[in-house]
């Protein structure tokens, strides 16, 4: 059985067409796009095309609104730090409790070391926001709102278009970390009030090490990297031209496959989810199943731990990921699961399966055939599991001394 890759929210395979497109830029097309000769000119033209390809995928009004960066994290940092510099009299930031560490860690740092006030919007058990809470926090002290478009762990979508409208009504900048959404759902930024948006190349079959910050024309902006005039002075540093060209091609292909993603890929995801839930007791979907990315499914398998599940899956050639503490070496399970109030006995056992257009329907059958046995084997070893199901009153039956 060939290996099955169901961890596409972590990273994706570089599409073969994308590899072909970028190869010349490692050899004959080595010029610096800033140079005044044909070596540079050819690269400059290729980058211009890439900018237009990304513009089309995002539905941006102008190609000059696309700023190439090195990754999603750089785009996120640039957006937030720019807003703080551009609006020095405002010292509040609104984010959500379930943001990616690229936003969370930065904002925790700003709160702790630079005296900014960071408001983290809470989520309910399905990972949904309370827009009334958000409305109440928006004020003339808010420098920026940053809310992810889709959650990386559960795939749950946030109403960022509405939230951008609400921010603008109060005169507040709005940024969205859309690294999981871009290429999976249709976007039309020109018809929204979103000011800034982060993209990561490797989430949509481009290589690692390239990203985009969408910057609406007219948005007050202060660059993170100052230096040369690259990216119209908004992101200095010689361009990663091969990867930028690759991202352009990947964006074009993502746009062509959007329908496929939302029909065929979604169908594979749904079939896997239904198959696993039908075969495995004490398992449930986390997040909001009615409003999420078409490729993502996150299932909590109660009373066992995720890393152990992943090791067993890996042995069977299946790649997925988990929200358990152990997979990251931290002391708590995923902050996303904790924010949704998922109990520890389930949060540690959450497994994310994330598809791409390169998965095959037969892979779904193979995973459904393997996972129930793995879960059953691990449960046999669990102190919370009896002969044929969880022990009665599990929290009382097993109450270890804290160590």
């Amino acid at each position: 059985m060939a290996d099955i890759y169901l961890d596409n929210n972590a990273t994706t395979m570089v599409a073969p067409e994308v590899v072909q497109e970028m190869l010349p830029f490692f050899s004959e097309q080595f010029g610096n796009p800033s140079s005044m000769h044909s070596f540079g000119d050819k690269v400059g033209r290729a980058m211009k095309q890439a900018r237009i390809q990304v513009q089309k995928l995002l539905g941006a009004e102008h190609d000059s609104e696309i700023v190439f960066t090195s990754c999603g994290t750089e785009s996120d940092s640039t957006a937030i730090l720019s807003a703080l510099k551009a609006y020095p009299d405002r010292d509040e930031i609104i984010i959500t409790a379930v943001e990616h560490p690229a936003i969370l860690t930065l904002c925790d740092y700003l709160e702790k070391n630079e005296d900014y006030v960071v408001h983290k919007l809470r989520v309910d058990k399905q990972g949904r926001l309370d827009l009334d809470e958000y409305q109440d926090l928006l004020c003339n002290k808010t420098a920026i709102v940053s809310v992810m478009w889709a959650n990386n762990e559960t795939g749950t979508l946030f109403p960022v278009e509405t939230m951008a409208e609400m921010a603008h009504a109060k005169g507040v900048l709005f940024h969205t970390d859309a690294v999981q959404a871009v290429g999976k759902i249709p976007l039309d930024l020109k018809s929204t009030k979103i000011d800034m948006l982060s993209v990561s190349g490797h989430k949509l079959h481009a290589p690692k090490g390239v990203g985009v910050l969408y910057l609406r024309r007219g948005t007050r902006f202060r660059p993170l990297l100052r230096g040369g005039h690259q990216e119209r002075g908004r992101r200095a540093g010689t361009e990663n031209s091969a990867s930028i060209v690759a991202l352009g091609k990947a964006a074009e292909m993502a746009l062509e496959h959007l329908q496929f993603e939302n029909t065929q890929v979604k169908a594979m995801r749904d079939r896997l989810e239904q198959g696993l839930l039908a075969a495995i007791p004490n398992a449930f979907v986390t997040g909001d199943p009615t409003n999420r990315l078409p490729n993502t499914c996150n299932i909590a398998f109660e009373y066992i731990e995720g890393e152990a599940i992943l090791l067993m899956l890996n042995k069977m050639g299946i790649a997925a990921s988990s929200g358990s503490a152990c997979t990251s070496g931290s002391l708590e399970p995923s902050h996303v699961m904790m924010a949704m109030g998922i109990p520890y006995t389930a949060a540690h056992g959450t497994i994310r399966f994330s598809f791409s257009r390169y998965n095959k329907p037969e892979e779904v059958d193979q995973v459904i055939a393997v996972v129930p046995k793995i879960i059953a084997n691990l449960r046999k070893m669990s102190p919370y599991w009896g002969e044929n199901g969880p022990v009665a009153d599990p929290d009382k039956a097993f109450a270890p001394t804290y160590a």
Binding site: Y303, I304, E305, G306, E307, A308, L311, M312, N314, K315, S324, A325, C326, T327, G329, S330, L331, E332, P333, Y344, T345, H348, K380, M381, S382, P383, Y384, F398, A399, P400, T401, Y402, A403
Partner: protein
């Protein structure tokens, strides 16, 4: 992915003594469900010989938690209770061929389950004696709780102090920001602030020279002696004048002196010396040194 040893993988994929022991007369339950690792150890102890005749584990946890539990049961079976109490978490880790620093707590949990089970058999109450914090120093597996406690109890105020007391930060040094955060927090409780005016740390050569000065000089001499016959064939010669640090001063003699290929010859000699010594050395005509001294003087 964690770098698990083959023994860890073996004990995870083929756990020994999984499940509860029937008619157990000792039970230890330890761990923290919030951290994601918890273990129930059941033992059957012969009341007369005090020997552990059977051991079983039930574990909620990751690969290394299950492997550590499995290893623990293998280690203690057949031991008397007093012998078993001598088992340390290091013994469990060693039995498994080592554990990643982030996973050492799994072996600690194993030892604690054992202590709890034996206390249970003896009718005592086992109390946990340590609290575990977030891992700060990955090189020496030192967590935040230990660092904070040490900083507080010993009035420490620099990263160097913390390294001296706990080893934390003494390896790759990438955790120094985290250690400074802890120091800053503890100092703030005392109404103090951290001194940020410390000088940049002194740089010590990453790899001390493998040879003493005398050894190096002899090696250089030997290389030059080996080259001389070649130069003498072309009616030239070379004389070693001095070695200072990594600079070798030589005199080019006879046909070599002033030869158009002098620079090239010196380059070749330098190459031979560098290759022989395995460290970078510069070969410079001695006359240049005199000029340099004059300019400098």
């Amino acid at each position: 992915m964690w770098d698990y040893t083959d023994t860890v993988k073996d004990h995870f994929f083929n756990p020994r003594n999984a499940g509860a022991v029937k008619e157990a007369n000792a039970t230890g339950e330890v761990g923290s469900i919030s951290c994601g690792d918890a273990l129930r150890l059941t033992l059957k102890v012969d009341p007369d010989t005090q020997k552990i005749t059977d051991a079983g584990f039930q574990t909620f946890g990751c690969g290394s938690a299950i492997a550590s539990s499995s290893a623990l049961t293998e280690i203690i079976k057949g031991k008397t209770l007093d012998e078993a109490l001598l088992v340390t978490n290091q013994d469990i880790a060693e039995f498994l061929g080592g554990l990643p620093p982030e996973k050492m707590h799994c072996s600690v949990m194993g030892r604690e389950a054992l202590q709890a089970a034996i206390a249970n058999f003896r009718g005592e109450v086992w109390q946990d004696d340590h609290e575990e914090g977030a891992l700060v120093c990955k090189c020496f597996a030192i967590d935040a709780v230990l660092i904070e406690k040490t900083v507080r109890e010993n009035n420490l105020s620099t990263v160097q102090d913390v390294t001296n007391y706990t080893k934390a930060g003494g390896g790759c040094s990438s955790c120094h920001e985290g250690i400074e955060d802890i120091i800053t927090k503890v100092l703030a409780e005392r109404g103090q602030t951290m001194d940020h005016q410390q000088p940049v740390p002194a740089v010590t050569p990453a790899k001390p020279y493998a040879m003493t000065n005398v050894q190096r000089m002899r090696r250089v001499e030997r290389v030059i002696e080996a080259i001389r016959p070649q130069l003498q064939r072309d009616h030239g010669d070379i004389e070693l004048v001095d070695i200072e640090g990594n600079t070798v001063y030589v005199n080019m003699i006879g046909a070599c002196s002033g030869c158009q290929l002098e620079a090239q010859t010196l380059g070749g000699i330098q190459q031979r010396i560098v290759e022989d010594l395995g460290e970078f050395m510069k070969v410079v005509p001695a006359k240049l040194r005199e000029q340099l001294v004059q300019i400098g003087g």
